[in-house]
Each structure stands twice: as C-alpha cells, then as structure tokens.
C-alpha cells in the first residue's frame, strides 16, 4: 500500500516539474523588453535623453565666457577646474562627459549587436535594418568624435600614428576592456563608420533627433575640418548643403524674446540638421559673455540681441538655439556654411567663400543694412573665423576651433583669465588643451593618462 502512495506522489511531482518551464517564463514587469525586434532597437536609438547629448566641459575652458568671482561657487568642481585650466579637472569626481559619450557608444553597440542578430524578412524590414545599423554607426562616430576632441591631442597627420587616441569599443559586453587606439585609428574609425552609414540613411529626417544623410555629411565636414583636410571638408559640407541648405532669416524672429528661436522638436528652427543638447548648462547661467568679444557684434547685427540679454551686470547668453531651456549642441546649416566658407577660403576659392559669408550675414543683420563685404584675400579667412565664433556661441565648438587654429601661427591664441585674485594662463598648444581621462577609468582599465 505504502509503495502505491509514494508512486502517486511521484506522479504528482512529475506533473509539477513537467510544467514548470512555461510557468516560470512569465515576465515579471510588463514594461521590460529584451531588445531584439527592430522596433525595440529603434526605440533604443530614439532615447534622446541618452543619445542626443554633446559634451559641456569644454565650454568653461574656452574664451567666450567669464564667471565673476561671486558666482564661482556655483560651478561644479570639474566646471571650475576647466574654467581655471587646472591640471586636475575631476578631483575625484566623475568624468561626466567621458561617461555620457561612452554610454552612447554602449547604446550604439547594443543596437549594432541586436541588428546583426536579427534577420530581416521583408524588403521593408531590410530597409529598416539597414537604417538602424547606419544610425547606430552614426551615433557611435559622433561620440568617438567628441571623445577625440576632448581627450586626445589635436589631430596632426605627422604624429597621428604615435599620439594616443581613444579606446575603440565594438561590443556591448561590459566585461571587455579596450586600450587606447592610435589617434589615426580613432579618426579612421569615425570616417569609416560614417562612410558606411551614409548610403542607407534618409536624406533628411522628420525627427531631428534621428540621423540622416545631411547630418552625416555635416559631421564628416566637422571631422575633416578638425583633421585639417579642407578639400574633403569642403566636399562634405557641399554634399550636406545640397540636401539641406535652409538658413533662418533672423529678421523673421522676435529677437527680443527670452527664447527667440522656435522649439526644435516641432521642426520649426529650419537650421537644425541634428539635435543635441549639452550635457550641462549650469556654467552659462552664471557667466557673462566676454566683453571684448561682445563688442565685435555690430549694432545692426541681430545676433547681438537674439543671443544676449542683460542680467546681474553682465551680458548673458539667452539660452538655446533650439528654443528649449537646455543649451543646444548639435549640427546646423549655419555651421556647415561657415565650415564651407572657411574651406573655400583655404582652398583658394575666395569668391565662393565671400559669397557664402554674405549669404549668412545677410540673414543675421537687420534688413537693408547689410552690405556685401569687400575684403583682401588675406583678410577673408580671418573674417570668416571671427563670424564663425560669433555665430556658434555656447555650443562647445569654440574650444575645438581653438585647438585646431593654435597650430597656425597667425590664428593661435594665448589665453589669460583673472579670477579670485589670481591670473591663469593657457598658452597655445599647451597640454591642457587635452582634458585628462577620468580617474576611475584609469584605475579600472589602466589606459594611458594624458599629460597635463
């Protein structure tokens, strides 16, 4: 009798065991998704809060803004150290921009791995598959570009093989650690990925947070400009402007408004090619624009009112180009025009350079006040660089321009600033033009630190 009872119990247990696999396969939280479908991967690539970010640590270091002594206390430790060009930026705190850029790399790699694991069935899926793959490559290149500009020496072809670049990562596996590639490899990776991405992206995107051909060309022109390859930069800029060359006429916006520019998401600022916000806006909210620089705006230059307002005894930057409270840091047609104008000038096409410059400034000056420029060939480049600086304020680009222009004697600058009774100096081509890699990265992956 006993035996038969235990037999029955065994049968019972067997029933439980045999159905356990499906019983335990239920998802604990409905909003959780293992991203495998193309739709999920697209949703990851649409995480603007993570992916459409530009670094912000470079803004305090550049020469456009100053922070009065009384407001220095409102800066974070890295902002303050960046502002004062201190050798140690972090003092043990996190390297926000390094982390954010590598988070973009991580997201891109998750998508790239997800895409390569899936097999598109229909033609429509195939197209989406290619776009996703290209989009992820675009985001990764953008992050690599920013990382190179912040944490590597300015690109020089002669030393690019020996100068350390950035750790290039091709996997989302958190257990894998990359060492720093050479600077040439780093830039080559950016160029290769973008070249690979361009054919499959849409010409322009209705969503400014999504990559497009125009955005890729714009980014390519930035990268080539930073490498000093003006021919390629000019080509890329032209290719971009062919797809989207719209400029906003500042006479059509209410420049006296606190936020004169239309909100980017509704697509209303037509100059935006690709939307990014800066990782931190705090510095600009307690700083004024350099007064000498401010004086270079002509009275009829609408940017003088559209960009700045009076507060706390300073000329302060109004805020965003994209109409939101966060500072804009992405790609715009006006930047590409300036890049092309510069390349034209450098490539000996002075007439074309001046034409581009006039085209932009006409839309920046009060109606009927702008007169086409007549300049000597030698003055054109200088004028273009000045107007470029006046146009691309508080987007982080000034720092990148300082880095590359320092290599040319006529444009190199020796920076000085006076704060809390001390004078700080930053000579051209100083080691401090390259930010140090955050301490916790060095300690956990033992990659090479930058000399400061």
């Amino acid at each position: 009798m006993k035996k038969s009872i235990f037999g029955k119990i065994c049968v019972l247990c067997f029933i439980f065991i045999s159905c356990q696999s499906s019983f335990l396969d239920v998802k604990p939280n409905k909003s959780w998704v293992v991203p495998t479908s193309l739709q999920d991967l697209q949703a990851i690539l649409d995480s603007r809060m993570e992916l459409n970010i530009a670094p912000g640590i470079n803004i305090p270091a550049a020469d456009d803004f100053y922070t009065p002594d009384i407001y220095i206390q409102y800066l974070t430790i890295p902002q303050k150290n960046s502002y004062l060009w201190k050798p140690d930026i972090y003092e043990g705190s996190l390297g926000q921009d390094w982390n954010l850029m590598y988070k973009i790399v991580f997201y891109s790699n998750v998508v790239l791995e997800g895409v390569s694991a899936s097999k598109p069935a229909t033609d429509e899926e195939k197209l989406q598959w290619l776009r996703l793959n290209s989009g992820a490559l675009f985001f990764r290149s953008f992050a690599y570009y920013y990382l190179s500009e912040l944490f590597c020496k300015p690109y020089a072809d002669q030393t690019a093989d020996t100068d350390p670049g950035i750790p290039l990562r091709f996997t989302a596996d958190i257990n894998s650690i990359s060492q720093r590639a050479s600077l040439r490899q780093s830039y080559q990776q950016i160029l290769d990925d973008l070249t690979l991405a361009i054919p499959y992206l849409p010409d322009t995107s209705p969503f400014l947070s999504r990559p497009s051909k125009a955005a890729s060309w714009a980014l390519l022109s930035r990268v080539y400009l930073s490498m000093g390859n003006y021919v390629k930069a000019e080509e890329a800029a032209t290719a971009c402007l062919k797809l989207n060359g719209v400029l906003l006429d500042f006479n059509t916006v209410d420049i006296t408004a606190p936020n004169p520019f239309p909100v980017s998401e509704s697509g209303a600022n037509p100059e935006i090619i690709f939307d990014q916000i800066l990782s931190s806006s705090a510095f600009v909210t307690v700083s004024g624009v350099d007064s000498l620089f401010y004086r270079t705006y002509h009275e009829n230059d609408l940017r003088k009112t559209a960009f700045y307002f009076d507060a706390y005894g300073m000329k302060m930057f109004k805020g965003s180009y994209s109409g939101t409270t966060q500072l804009f840091g992405g790609l715009t047609t006006s930047e590409v025009y300036f890049t092309r104008a510069e390349c034209y000038a450098r490539n000996g096409k002075t007439e074309l350079a001046l034409a581009d410059l006039d085209y932009i400034l006409k839309r920046r000056w009060r109606n009927e006040t702008y007169l086409p420029l007549t300049l000597h060939k030698e003055e054109v480049l200088e004028k273009i660089l000045l107007e470029r600086r006046k146009e691309l304020v508080a987007r982080g680009i000034r720092w990148f321009d300082l880095r590359r222009l320092n290599k040319e004697r006529q444009f190199s600058k020796h920076l000085e600033r006076f704060s809390e009774g001390i004078t700080y100096k930053l000579p051209a081509n100083d080691n401090r033009y390259t930010f140090p890699i955050p301490d916790n990265e060095i300690s956990s992956s033992s990659i090479i630190q930058n000399p400061r």
């Binding site: 959780w32 991580f106 989302a172 956990s444």
Partner: protein
C-alpha cells in the same frame, strides 16, 4: 493554469480505502484550564509500541489491537494522564492539567504545520491571543511592537515602499532587497494591504527567527517570517457569541515640539533682509512670486503708500501671532477610533464554524481625514468519511475607505520651498476663514482677477472643503483545504488560496479648489478681441487610479508521522507549492469632470501654451496623468521537512527546499536556489545525570541553515524599458536600457547559526530562553564599479556581503505575594551588522555619507553608519564654525567638503538601535490586573536639527537655536551655534549641519503603555463565559534619555506619536 490539472489528478489518485473499523479510537487532547487544544501531545498504548501524537486541532486517532485498552497521554508542561478506552463508540476528550513547568507558547505554527514547541529546534516567538490583545489598535502589525524578542520597529533608515513594513528581525540582511520579514497569513504569503486584517479575527502570531524555523519558507525567509493565524471555530454545545469593542482617543500632535524662531524674530529678519534689498529681485520676478504681508507692508511704507506709524502698528500686531495656534485649532483635532467586533462560533465534532463581523471607524487627527473598515469572515471545518477527510473553507472580506481631505503642512507652503510665515492667520477672530498670501503676489492676483481670470486667492480652511480624495480597498481571500488521512500515520493535504485586492483612488479636486483655479488661470490666454480662452476647462479635476492584485497559491503536502520503536517519533513533511501573483495598475486624469453626470472634457496635451503668469514661459503642456503598468511574480517550490525525536529528549530536525521563480532571463537551472537547514534540541533536564532542583527544565538548541531573499528588479539579459514620451518633448516612443546583461545573476542567501538554551524553574517561577546567532548574508545584490568606457558606471550584481550577530534574552517571572501576582517579562535583543564586502566606493564622501545620510555601504561598518565632520569649535572672532582640513584648523568649507576622506569623518555608530527590548510588569489582584510596558532602545546615534542660515537668510524662518547663536566674542565658550553670516553660504551651513556637535546618542527608555483590566469572576452566565473591561494608554513618554537635548530620539524630524487612551469591553455569551 496547467498545474491545476495536478489538483484534479490528485483527486482521482486518492480512491477511498476501507480501513479496519473495529479497533479504531479517536479523541482530542485539551488544556484542562483553558480548553485550548494541545498540539503534538503524545498518545501511546501502554505496554505496546503503538502511538501517535495529536494534530493541529489537538486531535488524534489510533488503531488498537483490541478493547479495552489503556493509553497514556503526555505533553510537555502538563501532567501525564492514563485513560482506559472500552469501545470505539465515542470521541474521547482528554483534559491535561498544567504541571507547573510551563513553556511559553506551547504550540507554534510555521505556516506549513502546527508543531509542538518541544519538538522544535528553531528559534520561534509565539505571541498568544492574550498578549496580542494587550494593545488596542486597529491593525495587526503594530500589536507586535515591543513584545517579540529580536523584532524591532525601525524609526530611522532608508524610506521603503509602502508595501513593506518598518519591521526588521535580527538586523539587516539585504542592501537593495526587502528588509522586512515575510508575512504569512493562514499558511500563505500575504501581499495584500495589512491594514485590511481585523485583529479581532487573529488567534496568534508566530515569529520565525532562525534558519531552522524560517527555512521552510526558503528564498523569501531571509529576513525572518511572521506567521499570522486566524481564529477558527471551537467545539461548543451552544453557539457562543463574543462582542468586543473599544473606543480610543489620540491627542493632537504637539506642533510646538520642533522649536522654531518666533514670529517677532521672523519679522526682524524680514526687515533686515528688506533693508538689504533681498526682496528687490522677487518684486520684479516675472513669475510674480508672493511676498509675505510684512514685506508688502514694508514696500508700501517705502513707496509712501502708508505712513510709518500705520506700518509699525500693523507689524506689531503680526508679531503677536503664532500660526501654530491656528493650525492646532483648525487643522487638527483629537483623533478618535472606534472598533466593534462580533462573532459567533460553535459546532460539533463534524462541523465547526466561526462567523465574524468587524467595524472600525477612525477620525484622524488631521481634520478632513477619516477611515472606515468593515470585515466579514467565515471559517468552517467539516469532517467526513469517518473523520478521515477534513475540509476547511475560510472566507475573508474586507472593505475599507479612507477619506484624505486634510490640507497638509506642505500644501501650505506659500511658494515653492517657502513654509507658511509664522504670523499667518487661518481665520479671523470670528472664525471666518481668511486668505493668505499664496502662490503669487497680491497685486498680480488683483490685476488678473480684474481681467476676468478666476479668483486666485487661497484660504486654507476653505481648501479643506474643496477636496474629495477617497481611497477604497476591497480585499477578499478564500482559503480552501482538504486533508485526507490515508492511514493513521500518513495524511495528504491540498491547500488552495485565492486572494484579491482592489485599491481604488478617486481624487477629485473640486473646481473651487486652488489647484483647479490655478491650473485654469495659468493656461488662460486672451485672444485678439480680448476674450479669454481656457485650454484647461473650469471644472473638477479627477484623478483615478486603481491597483488590482490577484494571487493564487496551491500547495500539496504529505505528512508522515509515526511513533517508532523505543519511544522515538518520526515526522516527515514533503510538498510542493506553486504561487502566482499578478498586479495591474492604471491611472487616469480627467479634466472638466462633472460629478453629477460623470462626464469629462478632453484637453489638448500636445499644444504648448504660454503661461499667463510669465509670458516668457512658452512651452507649457497641460499635465497628463495616464499610466499603466503590470507585474507578475511566480514561484514554484519543493520542500521537505523532517523531525526525529528520541524519548522526547533528543530532537533532530532537517529541512530542504528548492525555490524557483520567474527571475527574468535567468536560465532555468539558475532560477532556483536550494536551501537547507539542520537543527538539534537536547533536553538536558531529561537526562538521568541531571538533578538540578533549581532548574528542573533546561534544553539546548542548535541550528544551522540557509534562507534567501528575492530581488527581482534585475535581469540576466540586456533589458530596456519603454517610457512614455510626452516628457521628453518628442513624439517618438523610446526605450532606455535599464539593465546590462548579467548572466550570473542569482538569489541572495542568508546563512544563520543559532544556539539557544531554554530553561524553567520549579513552578514556572522563572522561565526563559537565551538565543545567540551568527548570520552571514551572501550574494547580496550590490553595486560594483565598472570601467566607464563600458558605458555602464556601476554594475548591480551578487557582489556584496553583510555579517550579523546578536542575541535575544527572554525572561518571564511569576511571583505571588498573597493575593497579588506579579508577572514580569523582560526582553533584551541585540542585533549588530557589518557590511563585510562591498565593491563600489563612494566618489563623493560628503554626498554619500553625510548629505542624505545613510545607506552607502562601507566595508567594516554597519549598514546604517552615522558619520560627521570633526568639530573644532567656533571662531572666537567671527563665530564661524571650524573644522579640519588636512589636519589643520580650517574654515574652508568647500575644501573640507571636497577633500575630507571617510577616515577623517567621525564615526558615531549606527542609526538603528543596537540593543532594544522591553520590561513588562503585570500585577494582578483578584479580578484586576495592571500591566505596564517599559521599552528601551540603546546604542545608536541620531543627527539632530539646528539653525540653517540658508533658510534664515532667505526669509524662510528656521530653528529656534537661532536665538542661542554666537553673537559676541566669548560666546564660543557657551554655544556651538554659528553666528549669522553676512551672505548666504550653503557650504558653511552644510558643514555645521553635518558636524559632530549635532550628533546625539539616541539611547532612551520609554514608558510605552499601560493596560488596566478588570475581569470579574462570578456565576452569572456572561461573566462566567468571559467579560473583560480594559483601559489602555499608549505613548506615555520618555523616562530616561542619554542626550540633554529636548528631543525624542526616535522622532528627530517629525512629531512624536501623541498619547492615546482607549476604553474597551469584551464579552462572551
């Protein structure tokens, strides 16, 4: 639902069997005095090896060879009894008499079986019905406070979700997981609202503390288990009706407990700030922030709108006010709680029933808050097939509603971050509600109203009327169980529970409320013709939210219980349990709601509107409040539990359990965790060599084993989480990666060694137990740093460990002095823990250990460690606080903040008491008894509050320490309160706030409560059956504390629990 086939198949498998009828006896064993069944009593046939023990109802049945037969019934703590049975005709009831050496809590329930205390090896605390009812409270859980060793109600530490209790048992065993014990109600884990359980339906509570006791609950038992058992019907010839009630009154909260600067000082500060021009910026602020009446008067005076004399007069009038008096008068009242419960029970051998109804009504101390609860329960038991089959059916229903219409102190903040000025009046001298300066400046409000906008004024007392916030909870629970005795030794049980809880929130903001008027006004804009457009319709705004939780559990269990040769007994329990718990939540926001017609209006959530208040703010969206979420947890467990006893002197227990759950993305073999425990209990006093007269009862228990803790917020896969898109301003849905892949994810485990002695003196004059334990919590989910280049800064995985140790002493003494009887219970618990492994390091020492306070685990320190800045006194010239920077005296607060290392911080021990317990004396004289519980908490630190100039210098008032601040040279010798700085210096404030001078010892002794009861004896039927009248007073105050500061160490930031008094009656017919 595939596994329910198991249930059906099971029913088919068990075919009725014919047993020999002729030589079968059955009966029950009860306590002679109380009539309570005795569980686990030994029943054996004299001079033979046949025997059994009584089951959870105190019943037994036995095959005997022939009649007549003599049986011996014995049970620990009772005198053994012999009985002669001549036939099998009737059920025999054996009444055992206590023999003096009585153990506290004779039977214990583990939620899987009810076992005799003496047959257990684990560490249990049994709270019997009498002790449970000593405290008058509407809920079950609070009655456990200060009566169970090892169990503490935390009043400090990380805030936990509402679904968790504040209880911890034997210290900290997890970092991110649950801290509170598993609650088991009538054999199954309970996920519902604990406040829906009526304490009058509860029979007893067992607290399972060590691995042997708790490991039967496996992977959910890492924090211990509290087993709650409901009352069941008891045999009675006539139905018994019991009625109980109590009425309690709770005092108004002591609003004057937190010392703040007086209205007059507040006004002086406003005047000083006004002269400094502090309010100039606010005056021209485009958001029109409100200014206080005094600032408005000063402005009017400066602009020549009123004379100096009038201004001074008005200000002097305000100086004499104190808002707290008004708050006390109009916003608070004495809380009232009424509880009524009635039940009827009775039954025969075949059928037992109990039916109960309970009603509670609570008027909270905050005016506008009240709640009601109705509970209905039915429990029934039927015995069929010659008592071989027992069927149980229990049904519990609870309906409660909470009206939460009070205006909170936070709502009275007159602008963001600005508490209401202390000279505000809520009503004029005739009690007519008055408006306060609120939200916006008065001139802006007047202007707006003249343009046709809705009234933009705020009167706190009127706001009380404009709320209709109702929370309803409907909870029902069905337990059904079948128990079939296959043989005398083997029984099989199937238990099923369905539990459903529906929580409904209906928060209607009347259109007259400030919230609605303000929202409508802010979105109002005027068209070309000057006509006003209101994108937010002027009507009620209704927020509804509901959460539906459905749990079902099915358990199949086989018990084998047999007396073996040579006076040994074997009890084996094996079973399997499946459990499924689903939660779905939704919330919806309706605009322009009309309560009479139940209609609402659609609004445009996508257009960006320009604020009426500040035309520069252009991108405002009408808030939307719709959300959906769903969770589902599943568990599948297999368990085995065995007890072997030899002569009731040597007891050996062992248990093993495998738990599996739907841990997301974890491979099937890692979803489960095997856990086990072993234990021994040696009754030394039963040994021949033991001859002590002083301690006639002593036994030694030792257990070792593992339990676990589930943390389901992680997954082994890369997981992404979709989020609604409206917040980011993009219309695209997006998903963020919430979890990097972690293929090695597993469950947390807790290993515990427990050793204890139980002892009792002659006549039970003194009895008690002492437990020691060592605990190690392993594989805890902790954060570990990763190289930032991976894109993930910290990785949450099974990387942390906590070790804990402690002891619990429980002593009960009974002393009789003539007609007086004094029962003294002493409980001492000590629980210390130490993080022994944690990989992440705080990058920002001040941020991790001081600001925000607790919870950053540091190796070698308790989980809730308290740190502070070293203090070097006040500067004798300026009254600035001083600390140390790199070993030198310093006033460089930023420097101190950024470069002080953890080693340089002063360590004060833990935030949670290391030792705690109670000392309870019950004095009985004739029909009266008086019981007082003195509780204590020792060995911990609290961070106290003091003046912060960041509030003082922004015109927001502050702590009354302000009056005792450093003002002149020499003051540094008598005060540590810094001088007032000339400008705002948040880092200086922060340094002082977290300096060692503000950390105090929390050690204190408190007179928690007193219970006075009268239980008359006599022959009148209602008196004979039981009549009790009691008076109970709670929260009586602190008797001793270590700190000199005028604070209650358990309520540093809040307001201490107010005294309450209850009068109750309990009567049975």
């Amino acid at each position: 639902m595939k596994y329910f086939y198991g249930f059906i198949i099971l029913s088919l498998l068990i075919s009725p069997k014919v047993f020999g009828q002729g030589s079968h006896i059955k009966g029950s064993v009860v306590n002679d005095e109380t009539g309570e069944p005795l569980v686990g009593a030994s029943v054996r046939v004299l001079s033979q090896t046949i025997g059994t023990s009584s089951d959870s109802e105190g019943e037994f049945s036995l095959q005997v060879p022939s009649f007549p037969v003599r049986i011996l019934i014995s049970f620990i703590g009772f005198k053994s009894k012999e009985a002669e049975i001549v036939s099998n005709q009737e059920t025999i009831i054996i009444r055992l008499i206590e023999d003096g050496v009585l153990l506290e809590g004779v039977t214990i329930s583990s939620g899987y079986q009810t076992i005799s205390r003496e047959l257990s090896t684990g560490s249990f605390v049994q709270i019997d019905n009498k002790l449970f009812n000593r405290r008058a409270s509407p809920d079950v859980i609070s009655r456990l406070e200060d009566i169970a060793p090892g169990l503490v109600f935390n009043r400090a530490g990380a805030s936990k979700p509402a679904s968790q209790t504040s209880i911890s048992l034997r210290g900290q065993s997890s970092i991110f997981g649950r801290e509170d014990p598993l609650i088991v109600l009538d054999n199954f884990p309970y996920n519902g609202d604990l406040s829906s359980i009526n304490p009058n339906d509860i029979e007893s509570i067992t607290v399972l503390k060590d691995a042997s006791a708790a490991s039967i609950w496996g992977a959910q038992a890492g924090n211990g288990v509290i087993v709650i058992t409901s009352k069941k019907g008891k045999k009675s010839d006539v139905p018994k009706v019991t009625f109980s009630t109590y009425q309690s009154i709770t005092g108004k909260p002591d609003l004057f407990y937190t010392p703040v600067i007086s209205a007059s000082e507040y006004i002086d500060l406003e005047r000083m700030l006004f002269e400094r021009g502090f309010y100039n910026a606010l005056q021209v602020d485009r958001n029109h922030p409100p200014l206080t009446p005094v600032v408005e008067i000063l402005l009017a005076q400066r602009n020549g709108l009123i004379s100096n004399e009038d201004a001074e007069g008005e200000i002097d009038f305000l100086r004499r006010k104190d808002l707290r008096n008004d708050l006390k008068k109009y916003m608070f009242r004495a809380g009232q709680h009424q509880q009524y419960a009635v039940n009827i029970q009775g039954g025969t051998d075949q059928t037992l029933y109990r039916l109960s109804y309970g009603f509670d009504r609570n008027k909270e101390v905050a005016v506008g808050d009240q709640s009601e609860r109705h509970t209905i329960s039915y429990t029934g038991r039927h015995q069929l097939l010659n008592n071989r089959l027992t069927l149980r059916n229990d049904l519990y229903l609870s309906i409660s509603s909470n009206q939460e219409n009070s205006v909170t102190v936070q709502e009275l903040y007159y602008a963001t971050g600005k508490p209401l000025y202390p000279y505000a009046s809520l009503a004029d001298e005739n009690g007519v509600p008055s408006a306060i300066n609120y939200g916006y400046r008065q001139d802006f409000v007047q202007q707006a109203m003249s343009k046709g906008l809705l009234a933009w004024t705020f009167s706190p007392l009127i706001e009380q009327q404009n709320k209709d916030n109702l929370r309803r909870n409907i909870n029902y629970r069905i337990n059904t169980a079948a128990e079939y005795k296959l043989t005398d030794h083997l029984k099989i049980e199937v238990l099923y529970q369905y539990d459903q809880s529906l929580n409904n929130l209906n928060n209607r903001r009347l259109k007259e409320s400030w919230y609605v008027r303000d929202l409508v006004n802010r979105f109002t804009f005027s068209g070309v013709s000057g006509s006003l457009t209101r994108p937010v319709p002027y009507g009620d705004i209704l927020q509804t939210a509901s959460t539906l939780t459905q749990s079902q559990s099915l358990r199949t269990q086989v018990t084998y219980n047999r007396d073996l040769k040579s006076e040994s007994n074997l009890n084996i329990l094996a079973g399997t349990e499946a459990r499924d718990s689903k939660t779905a939540s939704q919330s919806t926001l309706y605009y322009g709601y009309n309560d009479e017609l139940a209609t609402s209006q659609l609004v445009d959530h996508f257009t960006r509107y320009t604020s009426f208040v500040n035309p520069a703010s252009k991108n405002n969206l009408i808030p939307s409040g719709n959300s959906l979420s769903g969770r589902q947890d599943r568990f599948l467990s297999y368990y085995l539990n065995g007890v072997y006893s030899y002569k009731r002197k040597y007891i050996l227990t062992a248990s093993a359990r495998l738990d599996q759950s739907n841990l997301f993305g974890v491979r099937i073999n890692q979803k489960g965790v095997p856990l086990y425990s072993v234990g021994t209990n040696w009754k030394i006093s039963d040994e021949r060599f033991y001859k002590s007269v002083i301690l006639p009862y002593i036994s030694l228990r030792t257990t070792f084993g593992y339990s676990g803790n589930v943390y389901k917020a992680l997954s082994a896969y890369t997981t992404a989480s979709y989020a609604s898109s409206s917040l980011t301003g993009s219309s695209l849905p997006y998903a963020s990666i919430t979890n990097p892949p972690n293929p090695y994810l597993r469950w947390e485990r807790v290993r515990m060694i427990n050793t204890a002695i139980d002892f009792g003196t002659q006549d039970s004059r003194l009895r008690g137990s002492i437990d020691f334990y060592l605990k190690k919590s392993m594989d805890l989910i902790g954060n570990a740093p990763l190289a930032p280049q991976t894109g993930v800064l910290t990785f949450s995985g099974n990387t942390a460990e906590i070790v804990g140790r402690g002891m619990e002493v429980s002593l009960t003494a009974n002393n009789r002095f003539g007609k007086f009887n004094l029962e003294t219970s002493f409980i001492y618990s000590r629980a210390s823990d130490k993080v022994s492994k944690y990989l992440a390091q705080a990058s920002n020492v001040a941020g991790a250990y001081l600001i925000g306070g607790t919870g950053f685990p540091t190796e070698g320190k308790p989980f809730y460690a308290v740190y502070s800045y070293q203090w070097a006194g006040l500067d004798k010239d300026s009254g600035d606080p001083m600390g140390y920077l790199e070993g030198n005296l310093s006033k460089n607060y930023s420097g101190i903040k950024s470069s002080t290392t953890l080693e340089q911080l002063k360590y004060h021990g833990t935030l949670r008491p290391l030792s705690f317990g109670s000392f309870r004396n019950t004095l009985s004289f004739m029909d009266f008894s008086l019981s007082a519980n003195v509780t204590y908490r020792l060995g911990y630190a609290v961070r106290t509050n003091s003046v912060l100039y960041s509030t003082i210098l922004t015109g927001n008032g502050g702590h009354a320490d302000f009056a005792k601040r450093w003002q002149n040279s020499g003051d540094e010798n008598i005060t540590h309160i810094p001088s007032m700085p000339s400008t705002l210096n948040p880092v200086r404030d922060e340094f002082y706030q977290y300096a060692e001078v503000l950390v105090e010892r929390g050690d204190h002794i408190r007179l928690q409560d007193i219970n006075f009861s009268y239980k008359p004896t006599g022959n009148r039927s209602f008196i004979k059956n039981g009549l009790t009248i009691f008076l109970y007073a709670n929260n009586l105050g602190i008797l001793w504390k270590k700190t000199d500061k005028d604070i209650d160490p358990d309520f540093v930031s809040g307001i201490p629990a107010a005294k309450s008094i209850a009068l109750g009656l309990n009567i049975t017919y």
